[in-house]
């Protein structure tokens, strides 16, 4: 596939991604009690592929819901405040909530989302992310389930895009600098 030529290297191969997603499923299975009925909250669009694979490894009762968010623009980045384009279909008052993210970078958006969801009175609120870039973190936010810690490189694939491309690739790779370098 031509798109693969846009990558400088493959960071996490498809079998490595799949094996880790299965492990995360086991960790989540072991964390919740049988009648906790956690609600997995997927933050679109990036996390949809991760979610689709993760949930198929869960063997306790659970539900899924979706949120889509968008930034207000450059000036608001540091506050982490985002526009909620699609809010949860379900009321989470008293529910065990697990936020499912593709990647945690500065942590500001996640911090805002958790504060937002916390005001709704969930029984518990945990975070599962496929990727984390600890060197980029600006806000210390606890992550309960982490797929992979990665260095601060420009990654795409497995739900993560660059200009809406590469999302559907089954691996996670580092894009060549000439692909992202000339667009700001």
């Amino acid at each position: 596939m031509g798109l693969r030529d846009d990558f400088a290297k493959i960071l996490i191969s498809e079998p490595e991604v799949q094996a880790r997603v299965a492990e995360l499923g086991e960790e989540i299975n072991a964390t919740y009690a049988p009648d906790d009925r956690p609600l997995l909250v997927c933050v679109l669009k990036g996390a949809f592929m991760f979610l689709a694979d993760l949930v198929r490894h869960l063997d306790m009762r659970h539900e899924v819901d979706f949120m889509e968010i968008s930034s207000y623009g450059r000036g608001t980045v540091s506050s982490g405040v985002v526009r909620i384009l699609l809010d949860l279909a379900q009321n989470i008052d008293g529910r065990h909530v697990l936020i499912v993210e593709d990647i945690i970078d500065s942590g500001r958006t996640l911090d805002y989302i958790t504060r937002n969801l916390q005001t709704r009175g969930p029984a518990s609120l945990r975070v599962c992310t496929l990727l984390s870039k600890p060197s980029r973190r600006e806000i210390d936010i606890p992550l309960d389930f982490v797929g992979f810690e990665i260095p601060d490189e420009f990654v795409a694939g497995y739900g993560l895009d660059f200009a809406e491309e590469y999302r559907n690739l089954p691996f996670i790779g580092v894009l060549k600098e000439q692909i992202y370098g000339d667009i700001d």
Binding site: C42, F48, M49, L51, D53, F66, L85, E164
Partner: protein, 181 residues
Amino acid sequence: MKMPDALDKVLLDEETIAARVRKLAAQISADYAGIDELVLIGVLKGAFIFLADLARHLTVTHCVDFIALSSYTRSAISRGAVRLIMDTRASVTDRHVLIVEDIVDTGFTLDYLLRNFRARKPASLHTCTLLSKPDRRQVNVPIDYLGFEISDVWVVGYGLDYNDRFRTLPYIAALKQQAHG
């Protein structure tokens, strides 16, 4: 994983679904070869697993987008009176649109979506659904890519739910009659 008690039997197992999804992806990839403005629009929540698997097998460049629908009332949705609670992120005008659904039942919802999207003047507009229940159809809708035709039984799994339950099972199963009767 043990099958939940509320389920009657597995209609389509993981391997059968995976093989069919790969075939659909190959067909779509062939039909859209050379087109670089393809956008797959997944209808939440039901289509997210199907879309995730389908997209991974496409060899043509494409974008994915999502829409979310809600009914005004439970009876209204059967007549296609749906409310778009989240629209696509990007405009679809002049782009090749493929609507990705989990199931087509009466056809009212898909008919509504087709009319809604046609008004946006896409370069082309087609439909892909994993499941279809032809016995339930009340309005004729074109299905360009179809996974499986099934009979009129309540099915769950692989994105399809019963009151939000059983949605994430890796297979598609029929619900026992008494579970929804």
